[in-house]
Symmetry: C2
Subunit: 210 residues, 2 copies
Amino acid sequence: MSEPSSTAPLQVCAVIFDDFELLDVFGPLEFFGILGESTPVKVQLLAKGIGPVTSHQGPKSLADDTFSQTGTIDVLLVPGGRGTRELVNDEVFLEQLRALSSRSRYTASVCTGAALLAKAGLLKGIQATTNKRAYAWATSQSKQTQWKPSARWIRDGNTWTSSGVTAGMDMTLALIESIYDSASAEEVANRAEYLWNRDPKSDPFSATTD
Amino acid sequence: MSEPSSTAPLQVCAVIFDDFELLDVFGPLEFFGILGESTPVKVQLLAKGIGPVTSHQGPKSLADDTFSQTGTIDVLLVPGGRGTRELVNDEVFLEQLRALSSRSRYTASVCTGAALLAKAGLLKGIQATTNKRAYAWATSQSKQTQWKPSARWIRDGNTWTSSGVTAGMDMTLALIESIYDSASAEEVANRAEYLWNRDPKSDPFSATTD
């Protein structure tokens, strides 16, 4: 994939499904949205079909397009949530996820979104992390992944995985820093009045395993 | 208003409108949702009408009910976002907001949501804070409010106001602590793997005024 030109917007697509975790999606999308105030960014939600998708916390979102869309994707965001427990057994979904990821410049998961990537075979031979509360279950989805039990987030090539829920926000700022620069990421954090945990190795929640 | 019984769910209603700020809403609702895993909580989105509401960042949400709903409200959450610039001049909305707030146990704003509360006359004679990037505009909505330029969040009676975007997440944990106890708030933060900024007076962004 080529680097984005200065005029083409950064295309950010988040996968959503019933029982997705609200903040896994909207923390990162808030930050990409703020980035969009100074550089072109387009944020979209993708789902199985066009229609309401209910989060695990209750609020419903409307997808902008389906998993079958064929537009450019720079960042594919895969959240976790209770719904991942069923989706790891959904071969149609896993094939769609593989197809979406294969044409994305970056694939990034939050929380148990890593379980979906793992089951789809997208974490083979690389380092990754996931939610610490569902660590045993999530990591059981792939024996060919170098799972790290202590990490706020991990970047391995173009694949980014984060720990639980709000770790995805820290990862997103690091991804923005990687695509653009530190000043851009810091500006986003400042506008969101967010205290960015910048050290990917600092994981105060690593001891909390199930 | 009476204290919630152990069986009645905590009713949390977030007001949404076109151009609302995503994380102002879904950060707090994620935390209330996690709280709901250990105690009864019901989270709802309220809007002008039933139908898609587009956030400033792009993603669309579907309201569960309208501003005219008459159910119990324990926590009324009022977000900020670009859409507040028009809403401060919408007398119908301001009257609906007053009605919703008058029958809520707690009214809580994030970011420029405080401008809406101020213009509706809901911050008269009390201390409050708001987003530092839009401080001059937001505070101009009420001369009868003791605005604080440096605060992560402020509680004055049953009214809670927070600074920009992610400050609403810290405020929400403090509100959960106030309604329940510290252990409940800490459990929510831990499950979200969130590093809670517990000191309401610690505001690293207070110098960033417009």
